[in-house]
Amino acid sequence: MIAEFPPGLLMIGGAVLVPFLKGNLRSAYTLVLPLLGILQLMTFEPGTFGAMTSFGFEQTHVRIDKLSLLFGYIFYIAAVLGALFAWHNDDPLESSTALVYVGAAIGATFAGDLITLFFYWELAAIAAVFLIWAARTDRSFRAGFRCLLIYMVSGVLLLSGAAMYANATGSVAFNNIGLDSPGGILILLAFGIKCAFPLLHNWLQDGYPEASVTGTVFLSAFTTKLAVYALARGFAGTEVLIWIGVAMTAFPIFYAVIENDLRRVLAYSLNNQLGFMVAGIGIGSTLAINGAVSHAFAHIIYKALLFMTMGAVLFRTGTAKGSELGGLYKTMPWTTGFCIVGGASISGFPLFSGFVTKSMILTAAAEEGYLVPFLVLLFASAGVFHHSGIKIPFFAFFAHDSGKRPKEAPFNMLLAMGLAAFLCIAIGVYPQPLYALLPFPVDYLPYTTTHVITMLQLLVFSGLAFATLQRTGLYPPELRSTVLDFDFSYRWLAPRAAGWLMAVAENAGMTVTSKFLLLLRGLIDRIFQTHGPQGILARTWPTGSMVLWAAALLALSLLFYYQ
């Protein structure tokens, strides 16, 4: 019976058939599976099923409530968009891995306990790494490996935290955990790694831009938003998340301004958008949580859309570097238009999806009196328009004419981008269906005069700043470069420090070894002296001296015993 079947397993089990299918049949299959998944979710009523006992703990394989359903729907929608975008793709490895990845994220979303969550959490991590590897380049292999190591740390932290939590509370149920619970900090860190918290974030900017044109579209939707879901479930109202979130919105935008690889710019802006969600979860009011999860919903679509447009550019021109692009609007007008819709949505222009979701988080921050977070979120809102709303479309499609005249994106890509763009506008114009899916009743009006005018002021003036900087030549040009981020510590510093330490140790080892050898030689010489052919202890002693020694010993013992 389809209703009682764990939703993630539909995709994971379905992936087994992918290698046996070919061409359009395979593409259609990867599209139909998530559509079936959406139909299944529509039959779900709030509740739980799949209860079992293992390791002495009560587990709940599937827990259905408004929060898990919302993420279930959006994950399936992202899978539909991704499958459509990848229709032309003739890579069974990538197609099947993508299905497992989607399934694992959905399984984790519906997991009612920490053990089930851990199982799907790890499966999603492994699938994500294979999805990066599916690009089959040397760079993707190395970046995927770095991701794998970091994901494993997240898994170990989650398992350790869950074990401590279970040991102390006697339950593995995955509800609100909080920082004060035993193991709470470990679990928060495990989620934080996947959510790209500051200093734990670099796997995202490192790995995602190295995946294939189509792989990145899948990747952009699941891992980080699964972490957002997990934070919303386990750590709503944890105040430290406000500050973490605020830091996440602010620092990536500086990188986004100077980064040249436009898919990496998008990875930085993804990080910045996660910051809004994390801050909302930290604020913890019903408005803030509604804002955070609805923003995750809208974000998955517009971020996938932006990655699709840059993917299409990469597909047609062979590069996604700002320094190599420009003027593509002439031959890729549809892709240009869709990119602008994605940019307007992420920036939160009225009538686009980001506006109706992000403004909830900003309003919640103000209503709860968080002055500094509010100002930083406002700064980040202007900043995100700057790098995602303007920089991405400007440098790819306008700016200086690169002379490239690529063909428009293939029809299936245009269809996927068109559908995503339609959803971005639909949510922005008519947010009520999304609001109805939110975990708490919505008592919020996005389209008030104040909201619309203040947001337009912020964005249009930010655009004016960009135009002014361009006209005055102050805007930093796109340059072929690598920008150092925290991954410098483990990609450059740590290997060199380790090399240096090894050299020192080797040197010290040489000294110790040579000293030891000298000592050993001395000892051998000494033994040779005493036991060698000429050695005193090696002589054949006469029987007389033996008798003498025996007599001396007997005399000694007599002396001792007589006392």
Binding site: V257, A382, R405, Q457, F461, S462, F466, T482
Partner: protein, 94 residues
């Protein structure tokens, strides 16, 4: 004059259609349209009642000026950061 495509994905042809944006005068026009739009949005603060929380949000044109100056500062700071953070493209591959 003909440009060779670096990767064979099609290149600019001589005598091809000139687009509206190819004329720099039109780009200038667009800039001034943007300036006018900003002016309109700035002045619109006089015509409605702002429902906001913090005192400074009531300042005339606060959101516009804030947006302009933080964006300006963002780009100039990022430009300076480049001096510290920018390396060759193959930095990690060497």
């Amino acid at each position: 004059m003909s440009e060779t495509p670096s990767n064979g994905h099609g290149a600019k042809k001589t005598g091809e259609k000139r687009y509206w944006l190819d004329d720099m005068r039109n780009v200038h026009k667009l800039f001034w349209v943007l300036v006018a739009l900003c002016a309109l949005l700035f002045l619109s603060d006089a015509f409605y009642e702002k429902h906001v929380v913090f005192g400074f949000e009531h300042w005339f044109g606060f959101f516009g000026l804030f947006g302009f100056f933080v964006s300006f500062a963002l780009v100039l700071t990022a430009r300076e950061l480049r001096k510290i953070l920018m390396r060759d493209e193959d930095y990690y591959d060497r």
